[in-house]
Amino acid sequence: MAFADIFGYLQRFRMMPSSMTDPVHATTDDSTLVRVRGLTTVLNGKTIFDALDMDIPRGKVTAIMGPSGTGKTTLLKHITGQMRGDAGEILVNGENVATLSRERLFALREGIGYLFQNSALLTDYDVFENVAFPLRQHTKLPEVLIRNLVLMKLQAVGLRGAAGLMPSELSGGMARRVALARAIVFDPMLILYDEPFVGLDPVALNQVLKLIRTLNRTLGITSVLVAHEIEAIKQVADHVFLIANGKVVAQGDPKTIAADGSPWTRQFFGGEADGPVPFQYPAGDLGQALGFSGAVK
């Protein structure tokens, strides 16, 4: 049987996820996979994004960095369509996420893997069932094929031997690797990593780092990382965006951007306590707050 016949057979009986067959996931010649144009978002009166522009290149590892509370995770939520901006647009593989119907958005999401900071494994299911979950929901693959796919993904993250464990029995690093296996079970075009290195010991951190790099090199998956670990970013990222005050304040490859002398990069990469990101959260006059009549600096 020719490959095309097998492909057609699987499609006919909905044995393949739409991430592999849907035109939403058909790759285009465009070298930019995620294009953000003029994104403006205001939450509770605070401007999170102010006409933000960003091009995330296809097949590369891109890191998004910035001070806490600048909206890095919020940006990931915009890319996945969980949140919508007040103005501007986000194109993922040429599709405007904000205008997609729920069905089309779900079809797009089948081609996007998302790694949560806390892994977000389903606590009722063991490791095997967690990784098998998307396959069971979106395909009618025979059980033996699901088993083989899941074991292959678990082997890729080094946890085939942990297939029978429950999420509560895993360490933080193991849970994140299981979540990564689940995120790549459909061989997505894009993986979004939300703070993948937080709380990991050096061994686990290097394991996750190696996996991100390997997935990018071997499968060509576009990766977007939100992280603060500068050394890790220097090792894994091809391109870095530094966002602050709702805009991209610096971008480039990690080494160039670290050497950039702008106040933003100097404070962020140098770890300075005060600078463009102020030490004090904006507040009124201290003297008035303490009940003194005169102003106190």
């Binding site: 969980q82 999401r109 494994l121 929901q137």
Partner: protein, 258 residues
């Protein structure tokens, strides 16, 4: 500082908001039923959890409610020399009121809080968001199966409660206090009416209570702030709101069905 601090007016507005949101959530759940049919196994799993796992508490409570009721009635009716009617009164009280109401209150305390806490924790640990991002509709996969399971389980549990209460009443009345066995059953079968007592009393009321309790439990789980404090408040709200709703609805239904 809080723009929505708890003044009398705000409490009323917030309560009305909750009721309105609950109504919209019910419509969302009903609309998701066709999509949730593909998760039939999940509905069965939830039916086991909220139904079968609640059997012990329902059976034990049913037994003791029947026993206590018979004991009280026997002593009151013995003053008038009509203890033979006690079985009949127990049956009417259990079928029309105590069975559906007590089962619903127990269900809210046992299964309702568990549903709220489970969904609340799923939200707090990003499991609901993870489902959304895996292109799985959490309303169809998480909410609707639990809602349907509660709706199906409540009438069945009420029937079990009623059977155990009658058994408890028989145990005390006939075995212990010496009421004639034939009189006990014949009086009961002569008075209990299939439509007014069983269909209206047991089935319709328990279905209505099942709908309300399951809706409140699932809604509170989804509406809870994703924090440990939020989950604690949500489970409390499930019990309080369910109890009030059950008793208020019982009055309305009794007024219409009598």
């Amino acid at each position: 500082m809080n723009p929505r601090k708890r003044t009398g007016g705000n409490v009323v507005i917030q309560s009305l908001e909750q009721i309105g949101n609950g109504g919209l959530f019910l419509l969302t759940l009903l609309a998701a039923i066709p999509r949730s049919l593909r998760y039939f196994r999940e509905t069965i799993r939830q039916l086991w959890f909220v139904g079968a796992m609640s059997l012990t508490i329902i059976m034990v409570c049913g037994l003791f409610v029947g026993m206590v009721l018979m004991l009280q009635l026997y002593h009151v009716l013995s003053i008038f020399g009509s203890t033979s009617a006690s079985g009949m009164v127990v049956a009417l009280a259990v079928y029309r009121e105590l069975g559906p109401v007590v089962t619903a209150l127990l269900f809210a305390g046992r299964a309702g809080t568990a549903i709220t806490a489970e969904i609340g924790l799923m939200r707090a640990t990003d499991q609901i968001d993870a489902m959304e991002l895996m292109a799985v509709d959490p309303i169809a996969y998480v909410a609707t199966p639990r809602f349907l399971a509660g709706l199906i389980a409540m009438p069945l549990l009420t029937c079990v409660f009623c059977a155990m209460a009658i058994f408890g009443a028989h145990l005390v009345g006939v075995t212990w206090l010496g009421i004639d066995n034939g009189t006990f059953w014949s009086n009961m079968t002569a008075v209990v009416n299939l439509r007014t007592d069983i269909v209206n009393g047991v089935l319709l009321k328990s279905l209505a209570f099942g709908l309300v309790v399951s809706l409140i439990a699932v809604y509170q789980g989804f509406a809870t702030p994703p924090t440990s404090e939020g989950v604690a408040y949500a489970t409390t709200r499930t019990v309080v709101a369910s109890s009030i709703a059950i008793l208020a609805l019982d009055f309305v239904l009794t007024a219409f069905l009598m």
